[in-house]
């Protein structure tokens, strides 16, 4: 098992092809004088489910947000999706049009859902495919209805987000992110804002996605999910990857004192 702060080989073999679905090269990010990511390298093969764990402020959410450039990585960093680099040597100079095109390949689900409150669940899911002209309105409607059915919300399609529970909203958000048939899905603490009884439905949808072979990067505090569903667990601290391995290796037999300390606290909090 790797216990370095930098290069992380996949803990499980690539399922689909040799080229990683996601590759981060020397990913650095600073906010003013504060460096949040210290040159992270990471390769994620297609179909792998990577759980990212760590304390608040460890840089895990920033890492995720740098993947689709919601946070612009510092110069010298590189994000490659399916072998294609986003932008040039300076990530800040990527054109907005190019960025939009690349973001379509990456689905993202947020902690607070961020559904569009003025649209129904169905309209939320239809919006991106309509904007990107992925078919006729009827085709897109059918596809969106199918996705909502898949996340168990066939009977809530015409509801506005305000009329849905947190768990239902999060499942709509997952369906919305899937609507553009992304190559990679990012999940940013998607169960943290939910009441405990609503968490399982969301995790079940994510479990199903993982079984279907979706490449997933999951920032989570759900250790059981990381252990049961994840192929790989990464422990981050101080803006760097401190441990990287299979769930059994990282969660059951951590090599570093910091990982053990974090896991101890996390288990006590459950």
């Amino acid at each position: 098992m790797k216990d370095t702060c930098m290069t992380a080989n996949p803990a499980t073999p690539a399922r689909a092809h040799d080229r990683p679905m996601l590759e981060l090269v020397n990913l650095r990010k600073s906010f003013g004088n504060k460096t949040v990511l210290h040159g992270v390298d990471l390769k994620v093969p297609a179909g792998q489910v990577v759980s990212i764990i760590g304390a608040s402020g460890s840089g895990k959410s920033t890492l995720l947000r740098c993947v689709n450039h919601l946070e612009t990585p510092d110069a010298g960093s590189a994000v490659l999706i399916d072998g294609q680099r986003i932008g040039g040597p300076d990530p800040a100079r990527v054109s907005r049009r190019d960025l939009r095109r690349r973001r379509v390949e990456i689905g993202m689900v947020f902690q607070h859902f961020n559904l569009f409150p003025n649209m129904t669940a169905l309209e939320n899911v239809m919006e991106a495919p309509l904007a990107h002209r992925r078919g006729t309105r009827a085709e897109i409607r059918d596809m969106a209805a199918g996705l909502l059915d898949r996340v168990g919300l066939a009977d809530r399609m015409d509801h506005h987000p305000g009329k849905l529970s947190g768990g239902q909203q999060q499942r709509v958000a997952i369906a919305r992110a899937l609507a553009m048939t992304p190559k990679l899905m990012l999940f940013d603490e998607v169960t943290s804002a939910l009441d405990p009884e609503l968490v399982d439905d969301v995790l079940q949808v994510m479990r199903q996605l993982a079984e279907e072979g979706m490449t997933m990067l999951v920032v989570t505090h759900e250790m059981a999910f990381a252990e049961d569903v994840g192929d790989r667990v990464i422990f981050m601290a101080d803006g760097a990857i401190h441990e990287d391995g299979t769930p059994a290796e990282v969660l059951r037999n951590p090599q570093q004192a910091r990982t053990r300390s974090f896991l101890g606290r996390a288990m006590r909090a459950r």
Binding site: L70, R100, F110, H112, A128, G162, A177
Partner: protein, 223 residues
């Protein structure tokens, strides 16, 4: 003091001609300044400093000048600079449009700021085009914050149109004043004028209530 509203039977038609001029002025100014205010509001919130800086400076300058001075500039200075003769009504519309564009631009800007950051992140993450997402997602959510101050400033503007009399527009108050001078019946005439302004304000409040229902607090757009 005798109180005789029959003065309106004699002077009413003349005064009410001023009302139509007032309403035309309000409608013209709002029709032109509303889309311009949207552009100014967007410029004030733009990421590009080349849009944001001039919009901010212009807004600060225009809002700092009394509207009467802007009317005088439109009526006296513009014809000299542009070498053309402006009718007083045209000059009044131009002056009020400039003033209201920046006043309402700030209202739009504040409304856009009220849309949660997470919405912008969801738009960005989905790679949605800016114009479409503005029209379909951002503005519908900004409307509940925009409508009340927009109507409030519009009501101020309705009353402020009386200033146009200073550059020769014979609007409602100007004609009322002429009628007072001619009849020495200030109380009856001003009471009538106040009621007319009250009715216009009530109509604007009705528009506000209808608009607020259309865009309720959650940003739902009713069918």
């Amino acid at each position: 003091m005798d109180f005789d509203l029959s003065i309106w039977a004699v002077r009413g038609p003349y005064i009410l001609q001023g009302l139509w001029l007032t309403l035309a002025l309000v409608a013209g100014v709002l029709a032109i300044s509303t889309p311009l205010a949207l552009a100014v509001g967007l410029a004030l919130e733009a990421r590009s400093r080349w849009l944001r800086a001039p919009a901010t400076v212009l807004s600060w300058m225009v809002r700092g000048v009394p509207p009467l001075i802007i009317l005088f500039i439109a009526y006296y200075v513009l014809p000299i600079v542009l070498d053309l003769r402006l009718e007083s009504l045209t000059a009044a519309i131009a002056g009020f449009v400039v003033y209201n564009t920046f006043i309402l631009g700030e209202v739009v800007s504040a409304g856009l700021r009220a849309v949660p950051k997470g919405q912008h992140e969801a738009i960005a993450a989905a790679g949605l085009p800016m114009t479409r997402s503005l029209r379909r997602i951002v503005l519908p959510q900004a409307m509940p914050s925009i409508i009340p101050p927009y109507v409030s400033y519009s009501m101020d503007m309705v009353k402020g149109t009386a200033l146009a009399g200073a550059i020769g527009v014979t609007e409602l108050v100007t004609r009322a004043n002429q009628a007072i001078v001619a009849t020495n019946r200030p109380f009856e005439i001003l009471l009538g004028v106040a009621i007319i302004y009250g009715v216009i304000d009530a109509m604007l409040i009705a528009v506000q209530m209808w608009s607020e229902r259309r865009w309720d607090h959650q940003g739902h757009v009713s069918p």
